[in-house]
Structure formats: structure tokens, C-alpha cells
Symmetry: C2
Subunit: 349 residues, 2 copies
């Protein structure tokens, strides 16, 4: 097993990437990691560590894509960027999966241009772990496609279910459609169409869920469009920062409160840990023809190591093969119901 890693992506690159690769390589001595990026910079971080594991190698790349670059022009202007060289290596079969903490838009476009889509998949989607009261869930799409067609959400469901099965080790993940009410008729025409189609093709579909059901862990897989998913994800990430800021402010100068906070430190630390995106191995670009994982832009070495581990798990458990098989089965079901797919071309604006 060989995992390819963009060493130049993310806010803390190449340090976090190199240290994450070492962490992973030491934990999985029979796996290999290839770092793509500036040889000199990577090497200086590699040798800072007492042990440069034998299963970490470097491929030098002369260019890189910045976090705030406009995706398409950055791709055009930097053909030798670490992200693109890594993706081409994946395409050429020089590795089993690719991980990057870099520019999300560039990673999405670069993956599509280099790898294409899984045959039969219309559009790729981003899936991500969400902490919940019942051990976590996966939300999909969190930003790849803000105005999908109903058929895209059906395919996203199929892919997210397989991913959740692997990530959270749940045999038959349950699925909920994020909506503004529980009843089947809720939401817009688009939402009703998706509900109708999911009821037909998704075995473990639990119907609509509402905004306040997400953290309750009512379902294992939360399906929504990339617009809503992106806003909920970012709002969720900010809400805990907001809470800790408020806690600090309200503790203020009171000595008793300060002692209280000190005594609660370990409880607060466990909460932070439970909410930590770093544990959950990044967000896969489901639907591109190759295992590609977007790690959070702020990724630490630990987060990178977890993303590499997650990529390895997806390869080992044949995520793509399962998706292709299930897709064929779903398409036959849909073919028996032409009335359903007929209006499935409607686009969410």
C-alpha cells in the first residue's frame, strides 16, 4: 500500500505534512508514503526528526498552489504543483490514494481533470464527519455542488453510505435527508423529489431530518446539497469556538470561576477532543476516479496522519469497487421507474 501526500498544501505545510507522514509511517511500517513538494524544505523537516523512516520518500515538485489561489487559473499556471504532480502519480498507478490539506477548489478541479469520475457518477461530492450524541455521523455534500440535481443526491447517498460503513464501522448506515420538517411533503419541489427517489432506492432511508436532529445522531448519514452542507459545517465549526470564547469571557476575573475552570479542565479537554475534526481523517472527494482525501486546511501533523490512515482504510476495503457495484444495482432499480427519473433533471438553484 502506498499513499501519496501533498506536502505543500495546508496552513502548516510542509511541517505538518512531513511530521504527519512520519507519524503514519512509524505506525504502519509495511505501508509507504510519498511526499510531493519542495525537496529541500521537506528534507530539512525530515532530518530534524531523529528517525527518518525508510518507508517515506520524496518526489520533488518545483511549484505549489496557494490556499487562496483561484482554482482553475492556479492549475493552469502551475502544472508542476505538488498537488497536480501527486494526482498524476495516482492516475499513473504509482500510489493507491492521494491526501492534500491544500486549496479545496483546486483539489476538486485537479482531481476531476486528472482522474475523471467513477464511471456512471454524474458529479463528485465532499463528505465529512460530524460529531453527534451517538458516536458521530457523516454529512454529504459539504460544498462540492451548491445546486445539484436530485439524481446527484441519490448517487451521493450511495457513496456516503459506503464511506460511512468504512469510516464508522456501521454495517447498515441509516440515511436522513436534511429538510425543514419531518413530513415527506416538506421543503421545496426539489426536496420532495429527492425524498421520493430516496424512498425507492435507499434501503435504510429514515426520511427527513431537521437542523436540530443533526447532533442528536438520529441517522448515520445526513444528505443535503453542497450549499446547505457547507454552511452547516462552517457554522458548526464556529459554534464551539464561540462557546469557549463566551466561557472565557464569563469566567472573567472571578477567582472562584477561575478555580472552577481549572477543575473542569479535563472535562472541557475531552469535549474539545470529541469535537476535533483531526480525529476523523479528512473529507473524501467521493465520485472522482481514485481515492482522494481533503484534509482540513488547519491540519496538524496528527490530522494528516489520521487522513493517511483513513485513505489506507478506504483502499483496503475497496470503497470504489463497492460504489461501482451498488451504482449498477441502483441504476437497474431506477430503470424500472422511468416516471421518477423523468423529472430528476431538475436543478436546485
Amino acid at each position: 500500500m502506498k499513499i501519496l501526500l501533498d506536502a505543500m498544501g495546508g496552513d502548516h505545510s510542509p511541517k505538518a505534512a512531513v511530521e504527519g507522514a512520519i507519524l503514519f509511517a512509524n505506525n504502519f511500517p509495511s505501508s509507504q508514503v510519498t511526499l510531493f513538494g519542495d525537496h529541500y524544505a521537506i528534507h530539512s523537516f525530515l532530518t530534524k526528526n531523529s528517525s527518518h523512516p525508510k518507508n517515506v520518500e520524496i518526489v520533488h515538485c518545483a511549484q505549489k498552489i496557494e490556499m487562496n489561489d483561484s482554482p482553475l487559473s492556479a492549475i493552469r499556471k502551475n502544472p508542476e504543483a505538488s498537488m497536480l504532480v501527486g494526482l498524476r502519480a495516482l492516475k499513473a498507478g504509482e500510489g493507491d490514494a492521494f491526501v492534500s490539506a491544500g486549496n479545496t477548489g483546486a483539489l476538486m478541479s485537479g482531481s476531476l481533470l486528472t482522474l475523471g469520475r467513477i464511471p456512471g457518477i454524474h458529479r463528485p461530492a465532499l463528505a465529512t464527519y460530524m460529531p453527534t450524541s451517538s458516536g458521530g455521523a457523516v454529512m454529504c455534500d459539504v460544498g462540492a455542488n451548491p445546486s445539484p440535481k436530485p439524481i446527484y443526491l441519490l448517487q451521493n447517498t450511495l457513496m456516503a453510505v459506503q464511506y460511512t460503513h468504512i469510516l464508522l464501522n456501521r454495517p447498515q448506515p441509516s440515511v436522513g435527508l436534511l429538510n425543514i420538517g419531518e413530513e415527506a411533503g416538506k421543503g421545496s419541489h426539489f426536496d420532495r423529489k429527492v425524498h421520493e427517489m430516496l424512498s425507492l432506492v435507499c434501503q435504510n432511508f429514515k426520511g427527513n431530518i431537521e437542523g436540530n436532529d443533526i447532533l442528536k445522531g438520529k441517522v448515520d448519514v445526513i444528505i443535503t446539497d453542497g450549499f446547505v452542507g457547507n454552511i452547516v459545517l462552517k457554522f458548526g465549526e464556529s459554534v464551539f469556538d464561540y462557546f469557549f470564547t463566551m466561557l472565557k469571557k464569563n469566567i472573567g476575573i472571578s477567582l472562584l470561576s477561575k478555580i472552577g475552570a481549572l477543575l473542569l479542565k479535563s472535562a472541557l479537554r475531552s469535549i474539545k477532543r470529541e469535537l476535533n475534526y483531526e480525529e476523523y481523517g479528512g473529507a473524501p472527494l467521493l465520485g472522482v476516479n481514485g481515492i482522494v482525501i481533503k484534509s482540513h486546511g488547519h491540519s496538524s501533523a496528527y490530522a494528516i496522519a489520521k487522513a493517511l490512515e483513513s485513505a489506507q482504510k478506504m483502499v483496503a476495503q475497496n470503497l470504489h469497487q463497492t460504489i461501482s457495484e451498488r451504482l449498477a444495482a441502483m441504476n437497474s432499480t431506477l430503470a424500472e421507474h422511468p416516471e421518477l427519473t423523468e423529472n430528476g433533471e431538475m436543478q436546485k438553484k
Copy 2:
């Protein structure tokens, strides 16, 4: 000033409504409250209190709409429901505003059927207070219209700005469009159209904001469609419950943590208070032709009193007259730019 109150709406009716009315009536002795609902039940709660204020009166209604009733059929079947009798009294000029903690859909439909819309307003919208790091903001729409047209969001902005001005006492509220990126080109065709139109007609438009900007208080008014707004609102309400549940779980059986929590009690209580929807006087149904406020279904007496106070403020500061004036000004600006309104009919699916 006379405020009309649905005594039978909400989870704690009629107790919370009656006690809220008394609270308000005692605080504002020159104002009047009329309670609509079952005379016997209301009277029993009124007389339980030592002082039945003189400025609280009862109008008996034989029927009521339940929280989970289907709005349109409930309205058809219960013409003498407290909510509908109250709305008709508002229409007849027997009061200045109407408050209900009852069924949101029924209140929206009932208000539209009874009062109609402010002339020139296409669709009503629900606005609500959101706590933020900078003293709070207003989000609109939070559920009235899941698939609006761009022109609706323009009108919602105009109404929400006037409401924010009154509620939060901000002279020139700033406006942000909730989107999946800061740049003007982000989101779908729909979002770009709204951005373009707001840039033209909204003086204090700050462009797009993202999910993680909401709680930072980047803007005073957050504009979004009723689908996204409803999900963000409900998610936000649940996130703090989730946090407190996690805190309890993590405090667990450790004695030191328990002491810590005890010492932090007042800090945690201030946070809960700051996040409490009860302080902020419910959500107005902007755009219906009359001041109507939806108070939270879980409203306590205190929340009801605050909603009555908020209604009084909106009447005193001529919310509706200002909206009509600003609407005329906005329409003239739009008339000068026919190219903008041309495609303004597109609907968000």
C-alpha cells in the same frame, strides 16, 4: 396601545400566556393586553395571581389550533380558534399587534388569509434574533419561504433591516448574504443574482458571509432563504443543548469536576442567558399587513412578556410605515435597472 395575545398557543398555554400578559401589563400600566382563548381556563390562571391587572381583558374563543395540526385544514375546521379570532380582531382595528406562541404554519397562513400582505410585498418572511460575539444579529428568512425568488430576498432585506434597527437599536444595520464563499461569484446562479441586486439597492450591504461568520457578528442582518435559515436556526438551538449534555457527561462522577462545575455555575448561567431566545421577543412575520409576532413554542411567561414588549416597540416605532416608504424608494431604484429585475423571477428550487 393594545396588544392582542393568543392565550391557547404554545406548549405551556394558557398558563405561560396568562402569566406573561400579567407581567407585561404590570410593567406597562398604560398599555392593554387582550387574551384570546378559553375564558374559564384563562380566568382560573388570572385569579391564581394575587393581582389581576386592570389592563388585561379576555375574549372567549371556543376553539383552538393544536401545535401539530396541519395548518390549512386546522384553519378551515376551527374558524373560532383563538388564533384566528385574534387575527380578525387585529384586522378590525381592535388592537395594534398580535402575538402567538402557537402553530407557526397556521399563524403564517391565518395572517395571510386575514390580514393580507403589505401592499407591494410579494411574500412574508420570518426574522429571528441570533446571539453573536458582537451583541446579536437578525437572521431572515428562517422558514417562511424555502424556495424564494431573488426579488423576495431583496424585500426581506429591506424589512429585516427596519426590524433590526428597532429591535437592536442600530442606526444603520449592515447586511450580509449567507453563502459558501466571500467572493461575489460564489454559490449558485440564484445567489449571484441576489448578490448583484443587493449590491445595487442595499446601502449597507457587506457582501457574502459564510457559515462561520454568523456567530462572529460580522453583520447585523443575515439574509438567506427560508430553507437554509430554518436549518441553521434549528441546528444553532440544538448545538448548545448538545454542549451542555456533553459537559454533564464529561463531568461524570469525578468529584473535582463536580466542584469545578459548581464554581462555574454563574458563568454557565450567564452564557445560557445570553443564548436565551426568551430575551428577544419572538420572530415577527415580516410582510403581513399587521404587526404579528410568533413567540417560540416553548415560550415561558417571561418570553411571552418580552414578545408583547417587542410588539409594542414595533408599533410605537411605525415599522410598517417605514417599510412601505422604503419599499417605494427601492422600487424606483429597481425601475431604473430593468436588466436586473428581468431575471429576478428565477426561483430557488
